[in-house]
Structures are given as C-alpha cells and as structure tokens.
Amino acid sequence: MGLFSKKKMDTASSMGGISHLNISTSKDGAAYIFLLEGRLDTITAPGLEAKINEVIDDATKLILDLADLEYISSAGLRVLLGATHAMEDKGEMIVRNPTQPVREVFDLTGFSNLFTIE
C-alpha cells in the first residue's frame, strides 16, 4: 500500500500533490525560456500568465520546459492557449519535455497540434 504513490517531493506533505509552481526564467536574445516545476492549476496558472505577459511583447520565441511539471488542468491549458495566440504571426511557441500526464492532456484536447512539442 502506498508503493505506487511515492513521488519525489521536497515539501512536508505526503498526502497528494501540493498546489505549487516554481517558475525559472532565462533569456537567450529574444527567446524566453520558462522552466516550470510543480503543478499548473487554477491557483498557480495566473502567476505563469503574469510572467509570460511581462515578456510576450519582446519575445520572438517562447519556450516552456515542462520536464518537472507533473500536472496541468484546463486553467493551465488556457494560459498556454493565450500564449500561443500571442505568439501567432510573430514567433515560435515551443513546449519541451512534457511529462506523461501532461502529454496525455495535450493529446486528449488537441493541444499537441497547437504548438511545437520537443
């Protein structure tokens, strides 16, 4: 019991996931890279949206690295769709390393076809 549910967490709770999102930002010319860690849900999505909005006017390339993102809900999808719309006609929107649960959501909702997935 509980063997399948162990996950790497550096937080105190052992009961399910915690709604948290750490966003690391880096810049390469006019390309902005956001490295996400945690969950993209109704509570954390506005924070990501705000960070993206800070740079979107300047960006010719927006890269979201989701290697450490374990969870995405429709709130997260709406932020990604907004970013995709903003980059349309002016640059590239790239999503990297989606984890299995996130990839499944992308496939289910057709988001796999909306941006480049690396």
Partner: protein, 137 residues
Amino acid sequence: MMKELIIEADRMNLPQVQAFIDEQLEEAGCPMPTQITIDVAVEELFVNIASYAYEHGEGVAVVQVTVHEEPLSVEITFIDNGVPYDPLAKADPDITLPAKERKKGGLGIFMVKNTMDNVRYEYKDGKNILTIMKKLN
C-alpha cells in the same frame, strides 16, 4: 464507506479538496498517474461550482468519496445547492481547430468526460449532484 467533506466553494480551497480525495486514493493503492487524472477532474468540477453555482459567489460544496473494492474503483460526488446547472450539457470544444480559432471554453468538462469511466448529473431537491467514477487498476 463514504467519506464526506463540506467546504466553502472557493477555488482557493482546491488543495484541501484534493488532499481529502488523495488520502482515500493513496489508501486504496491508486497508481500516481491515475491520482493525477482524478485530481484534474476534481479541480474542474470543484472550480466549476466555485465559479458559477452561487450568484454572490458564496456557498458550500459537499464532496463525497467512496472506494469500491470489486472492481477497485472510486466514486466522487459533488453537491451544491446553487443555480441549477448541468455541466454535461455543454457542447464539446472543437479540438481539431487550428490554434487561431481555438476557444478557451469547455476544456474542463471535456477532460472530465473523457478521462472518467462514468459521469452522471442530476438535479434533485434543489441540489446539483454530479458523480464521477474511475476504475483504479
């Protein structure tokens, strides 16, 4: 055995709702990928209530969880006494549209309908009652 949580329908309470559900799922030995899928469905349904059920934004949500043994599955029911609303009646988003034409709405309930094994809704005694079921194996 059914366990129940009564909580203010405020989206900031989502972590508590998910922790309540996850405790039952972990006890049942639910694999992590399935927990994540169920957590997403729980978010979509709870946030729906928090956002739309009550005209002045304040009201209570009741969340009931039952783990069934044979076959191993979980049943989660959301109850509110807000405005009558059947989320299942909402049309699916067109997921084949190109990015430019994709709309933001309808994604949440679409995911619930397509990841859960069973979803049903009824309006009874002044309450919206929505139940999802997911097999855990």
